[in-house]
């Protein structure tokens, strides 16, 4: 009794407390960074070596202008004519420094690229996995296109910062420290002046940060919207064409594109403002230092040469500070991406694997009990109410009822795609929430009405049911299900590619594949939710018989509108407006004068 859900939600709120995928806007920049680095430990692995190398490279970069300046001042402009020997020595030193710096820089680049891309790959993978761990309900709170953005573009946004930004920030800090010490040695007063000039910049940048964060956050949201809109136009291609609503769809996409454009430009303008304030700081500092320095020099408190040397140091100081404003921009951009990815990862999986403590149940005939089960979608009315049911092992159950009466909800609770808001579902006397997922999914499989097919061959799609199945097993399964005749109409047979979402097949054919897939998986409890609704009657009857022949050893639950299924079942469960109104054998119910009698009459009238 220790599932994650239980610890977070009281029993009667379970299920109803389904979560929405968050943006983690509440995480501060610092917390986001901490979480981000913790999620991608590769980013920090060996970082100190990289930092050391980066410091070497920086020393080289600072050293070269210094040597050039020395060569000019003491070599070319040496008193009594140019000192060729000095210049040559200086040039050689600088040349050596360039080679050394370039090699160090190369090593830094490689290390950073490797760390960044490895770390981000890990992050992608974690987010991807977590999205699959979220319940069906939580997944449906966001468009697929936007979900894709969370593992692609949002992650890409982070890469710039982790590749260059982070390390430059460290190096810049080091350079600022060095420059500060040198400035203080040359002239404590002027050093103080420089620091006074920094104050307004720090205030400004601090003010800019949240504005930037909001702006970049908005861009990420717009990218998600954009991909959602584009995705709809691609996946809904048939409907859009059939109804000639291309213009309207384009209008929506255009709006998403425009919103993204405006948000992106707005973020860019803000980042330019932040950058320009860094630049203003550099320029104004130089001007003020020159003014104050002039005053000091006229007092004889420093020489003209010292003043000009100090200007060189000011440049050494302001340059990394300006760079830092740029990096802070990139940081906020990265944080915006990070927040979205962390938002997914931190969304609680409300239907979760009990983990280590999860029970593994032995395979074999299965019993199912619903005890006082109710269910409501978040924010909605109850769609199932006080369900008490028992399915005996090896029985064939048919669930019938009007559309929207709660049949599919029942199936989803039975297969633990959702958890009940109240009550519990048990298999073999054990609460589903205590059964380890891998055990549960071996024993119970549902075939939904619109089974998804992957863009692969028929063979691979069917093998999805049991990855270790041999080709012969799959062929045998097709024969047992009586699908070999259909297969024979395909020149490539099982090697036929089904196209995206199985679109090269008809809806009925897709259902055949979905059934074969579940059949191959060989569960103890097979739940068919309108799984043959698009299949022709002759094929359906054939499949039904095949399944029956083989369901002898297993329990099967079928939801169907075609009441032929109910006629053949051991037990018929009639659902009406979220309640179980009748349970019994077809023969008993058909004459009972209840809901089933009415349904069956209309079905029979159709068959005439």
């Amino acid at each position: 009794m220790s599932t994650a859900t239980r610890t977070t939600a009281p029993d009667d709120e379970r299920g109803a407390a389904s979560s929405e995928i968050g943006g983690s806007h509440d995480l501060s920049t610092w917390e986001t960074l901490k979480r981000g680095f913790a999620l991608s430990p590769e980013l920090l692995k060996g970082l100190w070596v990289t930092v050391l190398l980066a410091l070497f490279a920086t020393i080289g970069k600072v050293l070269i202008p210094f040597v050039v300046q020395q060569a000019t001042d003491h070599g070319i402009l040496a008193e009594g004519g140019p000192d060729v020997g000095f210049v040559v020595t200086a040039v050689l030193i600088a040349g050596g420094a360039i080679i050394f710096t370039s090699i160090a820089q190369y090593a830094v680049n490689i290390r950073l690229f490797r760390a960044a891309e490895s770390g981000l790959a890990t992050l992608r993978l974690k987010a991807f996995r977590h999205i699959h761990d979220l319940s069906v309900l939580t997944q449906s709170t966001e468009r697929r296109g936007a979900l894709v953005a969370r593992v692609t573009n949002d992650v890409d946004t982070i890469s710039m910062f982790v590749q260059f930004g982070g390390i430059m920030l460290l190096v810049s800090t080091a350079q600022v420290l060095v420059a500060t010490i040198l400035m203080a040695v040359y002239s404590p007063i002027l050093a103080g002046v420089v620091y006074l000039c920094v104050v307004p910049l720090v205030v400004l940048i601090t003010k800019f940060q949240p504005m930037l964060a909001r702006a970049y956050g908005a861009v990420r949201v717009r990218v998600g919207d954009l991909l959602g809109a584009v995705s709809e136009s691609i996946v809904g291609a048939v409907t859009i064409r059939a109804y000639g609503v291309e213009d309207r769809t384009q209008g929506r996409i255009d709006a998403a594109i425009e919103n993204h454009r405006v948000a992106a430009i707005r973020a860019q303008i803000r980042s330019v403002m932040a950058f320009v304030s860094g630049q203003a700081f550099g320029g104004i500092t130089t001007a003020i230092v020159l003014v104050v320095g002039t005053v000091l020099a006229t007092d004889g408190r420093m020489t003209l040469g010292q003043l000009l040397a100090f200007l060189f140091l000011v440049n050494l100081f302001t340059q990394p500070v300006q760079q830092a404003t740029e990096i802070f921009n990139e940081l906020q951009n990265a944080v915006a991406g990070w927040r979205r990815v962390i938002g997914v990862i931190d969304t609680p999986a409300d239907v979760s694997d009990p983990g280590e403590g999860g029970l593994r149940l032995p395979r074999g005939p299965i019993t199912v009990d619903f005890e006082g089960v109710s269910f409501a979608y978040p924010g909605g009315d109850r769609v199932l109410q006080d369900v008490d049911l028992t399915f005996d092992p090896q029985s064939r159950i048919a669930i019938v009822g009007e559309t929207g009466s709660g049949k599919t909800t029942l199936a989803k609770l039975l297969t633990r795609l959702m958890d009940p808001s109240e009550g519990r579902v048990l298999i073999d006397g054990v609460d589903l929430r205590d059964v380890a997922f891998d055990s549960l999914r071996r024993r119970i499989i549902m075939v939904p009405q619109e089974g998804f097919l992957f863009d692969q061959s028929l063979l691979e799609n069917i093998r999805f049911g049991r990855p270790d199945a041999a080709d012969e097993d799959i062929e045998l399964a097709m024969t047992e299900l009586g699908l070999d005749a259909w297969l024979a109409t395909l020149p490539l047979g099982l090697a036929t590619q089904v196209g995206q979402r199985g679109e090269s097949l008809s809806a009925g054919e897709r259902q055949l594949v979905a059934i074969a897939r579940a059949y191959l998986a060989d569960p103890d409890l097979l739940v068919l939710d309108e799984a043959t609704s698009a299949v022709d009657p002759a094929t359906e009857v054939r499949i039904q018989r095949a399944l029956e022949g083989l369901t002898r050893g297993r329990t099967s639950v079928a939801i169907a509108h075609r009441l032929s299924t109910a006629e053949a079942a051991d037990v018929v469960v009639v659902v009406d407006k979220g309640r179980i109104v009748e349970v019994g054998h077809h023969a008993e119910l058909v004459g009972a004068g209840g809901v089933y009698t009415r349904m069956h009459a209309s079905w029979a009238a159709q068959q005439r």
Binding site: G75, I76, R114, S118, V245, R248, A264, A538, T539
Partner: protein
Amino acid sequence: MTAATRPVGRPAPTPAILRQGLRVIWTGIRQQRGIFAIAVVGSVLWAAATVGTAWAIGYVTEHEVTPAVEAGEFTAGGLWTIFLVLFAVLVVNMTGVVLRRVAASIAGFNLQASYRQRVTRQYLRLPLSWHHAHPSGQLLSNAHADIEAAWQVFNPLPMAIGVLVMLVIAGGQMIAVDPFLALIGFLVFPGLFAANLVFQRFMAPRITAAQQLRAEVAEVAHESFEAGMLVKAMGREQEETERFGKVTNDLRDSLIDVGRTRGVFEPVIEAIPVLGTLAVLAVGTARVSSGDLTAADVVEVAYLFSILAFPVRALGWVLAEIPRSVIGFRRVDSVLQATGSMQYGEGRLPRTGPARSLSRQVSYAYADPGERAVLGADQPEAAVEATGPQRAMAIRNVTLDVPAGTTTALVGPTGSGKSTLTNLVLRLVDPDSGSVSLDGIDLRSVRKGEVPAVGTLVAQQTFMFDDAVRDNVTLGADLPDASVWDALRTARADGFVSAMPGALDAVIGERGGNLSGGQRQRIALARAIVRKPRLLVLDDATSAVDPAIEQDILGGLRESSDGMTVLVVAYRMATIQLADHIVYLEQGQVVDQGSHDELLGRCQGYGDLVNAYAREAAERAAVAADEEPTR
């Protein structure tokens, strides 16, 4: 074949890439002329101010600071001059930077937006066969990542142009000082160019691979999230994560590969100008000793070089972006250039009365979905449409006549081509041979939008937009709520819709997540009914609706179907019996047609199909009767 093992088209390496890159840049500049001009003006201001800063410091040092220090006293006016001169240069510099960066980003994002509009227009314009050959995830990546890659170069571009201006100013100055020394300095540029050529050569194939893998990562993610429920129901989260992990790791390796190349290039590009400065110093000193030059001249040239060293990197950034830009643009362009869109004529279709649909000798085969296109690969896009042998023709020489005002039922086993035929009738696809007409007018000869205005399809699998119920019914058409309710009533959807919070304003959510299959189908039906089509095609559109409600709906349709021709794909006897005429298909061909009784009498396949349930029930009853006495 997994996504990652698919061959990736690699472009021939460079200098073609550089040339193409310049062409892409030129294309972009032409489209954003005005804004780009502002960016360049800004960049020139910035360049002038950057050179000007050194001049200004020199100027105030010479004219204000030195005299003051020598005199041992300063004047307020002198101090103000120092500050204001530097401040003025700073203001010019900042103005330049703001203009340059803001305008550059506006130009870049405008280009991105405009290409997104074009690409998505293509997505909507290109035929379904094209969509079948291009995975959704790849198209998503194209609309975002590829376009971004193509135009990212506009961020450093204006700065690079400013740098060029700076080079011209500085170059002129250097030549004025000493042409020989300047020449040494200019040796830097062939060096930069050569380094860049080598870089492009190594970079282009790597970037191509990376962009393709980026698209594949998006593709796997998109497919996997769409399969969310299945993955869960089968407990395949781990396998899916491994599948995603494989492409993600390929992308990672590919990006590291890109990084390794860039990692070499950048230090080299940075080192070259510094080496130039050193060369100038060494040679300059020699020339000073030989008396050809003054020390001050060398200092000036060396100084000019040192202020150029940093900005010259902007050239490197642009050059480094070029392969990515070219590859991105190529992928985008391959979508923009894709052919095979439907051709439309100028004709119109009548708007009143029931329509007559006639398909004459039509055949249709699907393209092999195994043959998937790689965007921007060398083979022309049209080659994708070649049909593969994997599937026999879906429809072969079918003639289907649906007389005006009648109801025709299409019956046939699963996979016999019924849906394909409905798609042909409403010109969602064009037949490979034969012709389809409405009221005697060939569908290929009418304007775009005419067929949807007259004929409506309710497909087997419903598609819901992430919108309110009302919008899902009207699809943007300007219709009063009363009509929407009427349509919902006919589709028997008024009950559950009015029970939803917000009723018509209730948002369904992408793919209509919280509705049952039958509810979605009924909204889709209402969507068709509200348009009062002259030809209504129902492709097993009530498969998830229970029989009683289906009867209601069909009855309601019959009442309101004055002036409507109906073509219905059906399995249920009751639906079939509503039809005036029945066409029986098997393996893409018409086997027989006539009335229900006629077909029952002479077509065995038809009889087997429609009587399957009855026979099944009878057999069960017989078995039950046999078993009875033994119990």
